[in-house]
């Protein structure tokens, strides 16, 4: 089959590789009909996530048709249309039973590698390094889906791929970012990053009852989408002296009730502090640039919540922890527990509350994956979201 392979930093190639096989009796094989490039794939593309190997198949946002099932699979059958969640979860351990699927205790066969870096291992993720399992990803013609009765959700006929594909990651991720803010009537939520996850966080904050959402980015086309599609007020951080100051003035001197970091480890900063973090990361003295997270912490109102859904990988520097302690902030974070959110979010789509396809700007053939990555990375052509079709 054809598959999008990581061949090194900023080197993506579509290559011929062996077809996947059933390896365990509860596996399924899915013929992929749509798959997408995620912002977190760019961290791999840029070489910031350790334990990638030359030839790894990329991709963790995908959907398709079941073409083969192992003999223990009960809920799925050949021919079913499914969306596959990006965290691989067994469904039987304590965390899975508590719906904390992205920290499944069993799905990562390379747990020892993650333990060295993080203490304990989270769930494995498709196409996201060997430290997170060494599972082939979904930017390919076929994928093996372990624990097939636990993860994939069946999609009713008549719903186009583009409407449901993002149930695999970015819609639940944005939604969990807002859900973690414990939103109450009258709340103002600030969202750093107006990429696809930020856009879903904005919409989700309103779905969960926020009064106002303030979106922060520097690309006018992204801010425009946040305001026109999401109904958010916006701050272009390249045009203000200080984001925390701007937010203070927009919130009557109190600060937003909750702040969502939808940026992650490769944040861009202006001026001296931006250069400082870039230099430290380049010299491998810190792995993650936390410019957005610092601002979120310093902007949040006393007693408020900082919700982190942007991806971080390792260690950070100049973390304003004094503000967290002395101002009673709550920090909530995590990779999305996608399996927990898929069903209710599918219902939101069916009811017409949201049509997730609004973020798609580029539709390419799988063969053109490499140009999809560079267009997305460089934000050329007002790129927001790239969908690939095998």
């Amino acid at each position: 089959m054809r598959a999008t392979c990581w061949m090194g930093t900023k080197d993506i190639q579509v290559r011929n590789v062996p077809d996947p096989k059933i390896l365990n009796p509860d596996d399924a094989i899915v013929r992929i009909t749509s798959t997408a490039i995620c912002g977190s794939d760019l961290h791999l593309y840029n070489g910031f996530i350790p334990s990638m190997e030359k030839g790894d198949i990329m991709g963790h946002e995908f959907m398709g048709e079941v073409v083969e099932v192992g003999r223990d699979v009960k809920k799925l059958k050949v021919g079913d249309r499914v969306v596959v969640p990006f965290p691989i979860a067994c469904g039987h351990c304590m965390n899975c039973e508590s719906h904390l699927y992205s920290v499944c205790e069993n799905s990562n066969p390379n747990a020892w590698m993650a333990e060295k870096l993080w203490g304990y291992s989270p769930a494995a993720i498709y196409g996201y390094s060997h430290m997170l399992g060494g599972y082939a990803g979904g930017q390919a013609e076929y994928a093996r889906v372990p624990y097939a009765d636990v993860g994939p959700i069946k999609i009713p006929d008549g719903m186009p791929d583009e409407q449901v594909l993002f149930l695999s990651d970015i819609f639940p991720t944005g939604y969990m970012g807002a859900d973690n803010c414990n939103i109450k009537r009258g709340d103002t939520i600030a969202v750093w990053g107006c990429g696809p996850v930020g856009q879903f966080a904005i919409k989700s904050a309103f779905l969960l009852g926020a009064e106002r959402v303030i979106a922060i980015d520097r690309f006018p086309y992204r801010l425009k989408m946040a305001s026109e599609q999401g109904g958010a007020e916006t701050i272009n951080y390249a045009e203000v002296d200080s984001v925390p100051e701007a937010l203070r003035e927009m919130t009557g001197g109190r600060g937003p009730d909750a702040c969502i970091d939808a940026v992650g480890m490769e944040a861009h900063g202006m001026g001296l502090i931006g250069a400082y973090d870039r230099a430290k990361q380049a010299m491998m003295l810190e792995t993650d640039r936390i410019i957005a997270l610092r601002e979120a912490i310093l902007s949040c109102r006393n007693g408020g919540t900082v919700s982190v859904i942007g991806v971080y990988g390792g260690f950070v520097d100049k973390f304003p922890f004094g503000a967290v302690v002395n101002r009673s902030l709550t920090i909530k974070a995590g990779q999305a527990h996608v399996q927990h959110y898929m069903k209710p979010l599918l219902e939101h789509i069916q009811k017409g509350d949201i049509d997730p396809s609004f973020v798609i700007t580029h539709r390419l053939n799988l063969n053109d994956a490499a140009s999809g990555y560079s267009t997305f990375l460089n934000k050329q052509d007002e790129c927001m979201k790239v969908v690939l079709r095998p």
């Binding site: 598959a3 392979c5 090194g8 930093t9 590789v17 062996p18 077809d19 996947p20 096989k21 059933i22 390896l23 365990n24 009796p25 509860d26 070489g47 190997e53 030359k54 030839g55 790894d56 198949i57 192992g70 003999r71 223990d72 067994c90 469904g91 039987h92 351990c93 304590m94 039973e97 205790e105 069993n106 799905s107 990562n108 066969p109 390379n110 747990a111 020892w112 494995a124 196409g127 060997h130 399992g133 060494g134 599972y135 082939a136 990803g137 093996r144 372990p146 624990y147 010299m283 491998m284």
Partner: protein, 354 residues
């Protein structure tokens, strides 16, 4: 009584002797620490120059590798210089040397390298490795002396105890636990049936039931060697605890137990394994095994994790890389091991070794 005196006398002599070797070891360690630090900083600051120096092409991949190796050197350098007992860091250097040699082996195979420089680099690494081994050995023996001196220092111990200590000299003591989302009865039943053990004790070549109490064990050791012994169940408390020990005359002396304790409020069952293993080759054998990832603590941890996977999900966790013997990209394997093919074909899932 006379015996004990003789023993103590011998030991004092040994301590004096090895006291010197310990000092030498520490001085050597300091030198190696500074060497690591300097080399590592050079590799991080000028990866391109260093790559050319050892005769490999100055490309992105090699620069990245050079920086990674440099980080490792800096870490072991700092470890050696900052720790009061740098022994572990010195042995980590030996591991690093093995890694460097394997990387240089790769460079030999490539046609883009300057063979003369690669050869020079290989000779240098072998030389440094000899120093690392010498240093690690001196520090290790010194530590073992400290420990036995401590034991001798307590004069009131009875004879039986000191015989026991001697029998376990160089033994590795392991205690590892894991929490499993199943009741203790089910876990006990699964473990007590020795036919199930090979399913999760994936480092074992063979575990064969001889009768209800006795079993024959065969383990894969370092570098393809196998070791075998017979074991006997010494304690069996249904749903709570199983203890075993190798029978007299075994080449690998070991004893251990597994206990199953239910936690309250649906928090599952804590499974704890406690083991003492006398690895072949004593303390140094254990150190070398550690470098190859086969040390007992890691093995027990791996076995417990596999046990949890099987009883919670019905099978071992397998990704696309689980069958590869060498580093393999995350993509479907072109061929599965015959045992796995057979098991999937016939539907007789045995949780074969991965």
């Amino acid at each position: 009584m006379a015996r004990q005196n003789t023993g103590a006398g011998e030991n004092r002599g040994a301590i004096r002797n090895r006291g010197r070797s310990g000092e030498n070891g520490e001085r050597l360690a300091q030198g190696l620490g500074w060497f690591s630090l300097g080399l590592g900083l050079a590799q991080i600051a000028a990866p391109g120059e260093m790559a050319r120096l050892i005769g490999v092409p100055d490309d992105d991949e090699n620069r990245q590798m050079m920086r990674a190796v440099g980080m490792r050197e800096v870490a072991s350098g700092l470890g050696i210089l900052s720790q009061p007992h740098p022994e572990g860091w010195v042995w980590a250097r030996v591991g690093g040397d093995v890694m460097d040699l394997s990387l240089l082996g790769g460079a030999w195979a490539s046609d883009r390298t300057d063979k003369e420089r690669v050869a020079a680099a290989t000779v240098a690494v072998v030389g440094v490795m000899a120093l690392d081994l010498l240093c690690g050995r001196q520090l290790t023996e010194h530590d073992a002396d400290d420990a036995s001196a401590g034991r001798q220092g307590v004069g009131g111990r009875d004879h039986a105890r000191s015989v026991e200590d001697q029998r376990w000299s160089g033994a590795v003591h392991v205690r590892k636990s894991i929490t499993i989302n199943r009741p203790p009865e089910e876990l006990y039943r699964f473990w007590r049936d020795f036919d199930n053990l090979p399913r999760f004790m994936t480092h074992m070549e063979e575990i064969r039931k001889l009768d209800d109490k006795r079993s024959h064990w065969k383990a894969r050791g370092v570098a393809g060697f196998t070791v075998e012994w017979d074991a006997e169940i010494t304690e069996d408390v249904p749903n709570e605890r199983i203890a075993w020990a190798s029978v007299a005359g075994s080449s690998v002396h070991n004893a251990g137990s597994v206990t199953f304790k239910q936690r309250p409020a649906n928090r599952g069952t804590v499974v704890e394994v406690e083991m003492r293993v006398d690895p072949p080759g004593g303390a140094i054998g254990a150190k070398i095994a550690k470098l190859f990832g086969k040390e007992p603590v890691q093995q027990v941890a791996d076995h417990l994790r596999a046990f949890k996977q099987i009883v919670e999900t019905g099978h071992l966790t397998r990704s696309d890389t689980s069958f590869a013997l060498v580093r393999h990209p995350a993509r479907p394997p072109s061929k599965l091991p015959e045992a796995v093919e057979a098991e999937l074909r016939t539907g007789t899932y045995q949780g074969a070794k991965s």
